[in-house]
Symmetry: C2
Subunit: 334 residues, 2 copies
């Protein structure tokens, strides 16, 4: 019933092994033969049997994709979009993505089956992943790529958004709009992304010969929520240090800033300009629409897969950090 490589070989008048060479794009086949086989494959509508391939070769043709249930199912489709980019890119390379979620706290019952069955050529981890699982993973010599997260210890390959550059773009933009007194509303500085954004903020100020004033930097909040953004902004206002713009460490905090400014009847952007970071879905639906920094999420996912395929084929692991460029989206708040 199903069409096998034998059918192709017979119809094309060659041996099975020659067809195999063609399928796998290997050298050592005359161009004429190759064309003939390709034509036959097309005519018969032949598709190699994934399982048979996986059995015979050591390659699995699958890439694992792990994220936490929380990250996957929350309303802001950040990791969902990253996955989407991965899936699309994987198709180009004829890989399947095996998506699985794990709980935020590690449990041995939770170990993805594709790991137990050694059913993948590599694994992509998106977002923060429980340390226990990372430890478990490191026991295999499987290629691992992190997206938007760097494990605290050990060597790794991570794909991250360029937070520093994003902050620089944001602050530079404010400066070009004439702002000199720019506040930073942050929190949880220990989080690498937030730290990087603060770093970019300072660096942009220096580049523009604006002195960095510690009075304008607010990082005492323990998280980066709308509530914290609200509170930090109130502190900023109470303190009376003059300022004309705010760079918030992420959009959630920026929404908090908006709320506080609105309550005090301070108009955005006339009296205070505001920039966020992340470009979450509702950023463009606020009043005023929020100027913010965006990363192409699909690109991050695609880059992870592309890199993974490279690693699998070259059989050499890579290490380090890939910084994906970000882009300033100018809207009404500046």
């Amino acid at each position: 019933m199903t069409i096998t490589i034998k059918d192709v070989a017979r119809k094309a008048g060659v041996s099975v092994s020659t067809v195999s060479l063609v399928i796998n794009n290997k050298p050592g086949v005359t161009d004429a033969t190759r064309q003939k086989i390709l034509k036959t494959i097309d005519e018969l509508n032949y598709h190699p049997h994934h399982f048979a391939r996986g059995l015979a070769s050591k390659r699995k043709g699958n890439i694992g994709f792990i994220l936490t249930t929380y990250h996957f199912s929350r309303a802001e489709p950040f990791y969902t979009r990253i996955f989407l980019g991965s899936e699309l890119e994987a198709r180009n390379h004829n890989y399947y993505i095996l998506l699985t979620t794990v709980e935020s706290k590690f449990s041995r019952k939770d170990i993805p089956r594709f790991l137990l069955e050694k059913n993948i050529d590599g694994v992509i981890l998106a977002g923060k992943i429980p340390a226990g699982l990372i430890d478990y993973l490191n026991r295999f010599d499987l290629p691992v790529i992190y997206i938007d997260y760097v494990p605290p210890k050990g060597k790794s390959l991570a794909i991250l958004m360029d937070n520093v550059d994003g902050a620089i773009q944001a602050v530079t933009h404010l400066n070009e709009k004439g702002h000199k007194k720019i506040a930073f509303i942050g929190g949880d500085i220990s989080h690498p992304s937030i730290g990087a954004r603060l770093e970019g903020y300072k660096s942009a100020l220096k580049k523009n010969r604006i002195p960095v004033s510690e009075n304008l930097i607010f990082t005492s909040a323990s998280d980066t929520t709308t509530q914290s953004g609200y509170e930090m902004t109130c502190h900023l206002l109470e303190q009376k240090t003059p300022f004309t713009a705010i760079f918030a460490a992420n959009d959630a905090m920026a929404f908090g800033c908006m709320k506080c400014l609105r309550e005090k009847h301070i108009r955005i952007p006339d009296q205070v300009a505001l920039v966020g970071f992340d470009d979450v879905e509702i950023a463009s639906q606020m009043e005023p629409k929020l100027t913010t920094v965006r990363v192409n999420k699909e690109d991050m996912g695609a880059l992870a897969v592309k890199t993974m395929v490279d690693i699998i084929h070259s059989e050499r692991m890579l290490q380090g950090k890939f910084l994906v460029p970000v882009e300033l989206v100018v809207r009404e708040s500046t």
Copy 2:
């Protein structure tokens, strides 16, 4: 390096085929032998090779899951959650879910690879799927299960939320709160879910001996957006027919109702009570928090997989509609 069924057989002192029987839970093995083999499997930490299994048997151990890119990546994680339920359930049955997205308009280039390679035992389609793809699918004799969608023609098996019952619950709740004059704000009646909700509305009124007044039924909008909800509510108010409650066909429209009522300084729930449908993420964050009807999305996904596994093992296709129960979530708007 990797542990195979042979290693298990050797260590347990039995033949490979006996081990195979045990792995597959087949009869014809002494309990003593079974226990011994099970123990050995555990000791060696053996896991059957997915590919080899797939090759030797005709079963693939994979279930395809298709939804449109649009449905997957929008902010309201409805289908994402359904997928999550499917994935969790699939683990219990030792199936992998192969997730892929397709564009909303069909293109031959877009046919999921797992279909071309015949790499799945069945396929689950969530949400509206392009007709071209459905036609293509029907050419195989693959089990197909639809979630939250029924294809317009042909026999099918669909898992749907119980819209009629949800509407009855909503209206009955309003009635219990003392409301007799309840308006229906809908739109796009041709959409099966919306039609069913209207039907449930009418049916609940009749059950409670409240006359159905066509003056209180608004279905002329062409879609079911917040904007339409807003406009319909304005019409309702202009018309002057007295009413004390609104049942909106979905949460988006309910938000539109809220906006209109707020503009006219009509207080919710004091002057007008409001019920929505769907329980989208932000329903619980509105002011006032919206009373609405919720379906357990994970359950829908899990049910689809459970049913699929049944079909695969029994080798008999099922047809019809499975209605998943819904639940009224009472919040501040009533």
